[in-house]
């Protein structure tokens, strides 16, 4: 691993961790576990676009661990939910970027948000052993649309700056 690559990963991990932490401080708009904007997903998608799958996975693993260390949920229920969600979202987004490149950045971001919700819900159903939790699925799917669009637009704005520099 080159020094430049290490430095870049470290920087992206720091940014993703802060976004993960800040998001935890925002009040939850809808009383459904796991509904949030997914700001840290911006960094995951950025890493997928600028670098590769491996780099993005490194960042996801590190930021979920560091993020939950900061907000005190490390290896608790919340940690496993965001970890699974982020992993599933990363896999989904890499497939849509590299294997079936039919969507724009915003579409990929929406698909990532959906994958995050579904992955998280599967993990939650597993932890509490209660399939009834899928009652939340339609609400989470609906909320994935605006949150995916918002994070997609933020990423687009970010990419413009990066291309300039």
């Amino acid at each position: 691993m080159s020094t430049k690559r290490i430095a870049l990963i470290a920087m992206l991990v720091a940014q993703a961790t802060i976004l993960h932490y800040l998001e935890g401080l925002l009040p939850n708009p809808i009383p459904i576990p796991g509904v949030k904007l997914g700001l840290a997903n911006i960094i995951t998608l950025l890493a997928l676009i600028l670098y590769d799958f491996k780099t993005a996975l490194n960042i996801v693993v590190l930021r979920t661990i560091l993020g939950s260390l900061l907000n005190g949920s490390l290896f608790g229920v919340g940690f496993f939910l965001s970890f699974t969600g982020a992993m599933v979202a990363t896999c989904m987004m890499v497939i849509l970027l590299r294997v079936f490149p039919v969507l724009s950045v915003i579409g990929v971001s929406v698909a990532g948000a959906i994958a995050h919700s579904v992955g998280q819900l599967l993990m939650a159903a597993l932890i509490i052993n209660q399939p009834g939790i899928f009652y939340y699925l339609p609400f989470m799917l609906l909320f994935s649309i605006p949150s995916g669009i918002i994070t997609g637009l933020l990423l687009k704005a970010l990419l413009k700056y990066i291309e300039k520099s």
Partner: protein
């Protein structure tokens, strides 16, 4: 945004609305049982139509949930968990309604008799 993006968003919106409708139709006119589950074990099953006096149930684990039962409805009234999502879910009164406290691993859901 590409055309495919809009297609994806449209499909997801239709699927989620269809699921919502489906869950609503499932829940019409039945006798309702509230089931409280903690750590994968049923704590109590309550026939909501037979509740006369409102009462509270406390479920303790990593945190403490105080559950309030009234005629035809049930809710997490108080909890010392960090996010309070369970409390904000409010009253459950229809089949399929569910409130979950993930930190304390407590679930209340409404089933049919």
């Amino acid at each position: 945004m590409k055309k495919n993006d809009i297609l994806l968003i449209g499909i997801i919106a239709v699927i989620s609305l269809a699921l919502l409708l489906f869950f609503n139709i499932l829940g019409k006119g039945e006798r309702l049982i509230a089931v409280i589950v903690h750590n994968n074990q049923v704590v109590e099953r309550i026939d909501l139509s037979k509740v006369k006096e409102p009462r509270t149930i406390t479920v303790s684990g990593n945190y403490h949930n105080i559950i309030k039962v009234e005629k035809d409805r049930i809710r997490f009234e108080k909890s010392d968990c960090p996010e309070q999502i369970c409390v904000h879910t409010g009253w459950l009164s229809k089949f399929g309604d569910i409130a979950v406290c993930m930190p304390n691993k407590t679930i209340i859901d409404i089933e049919k008799k």
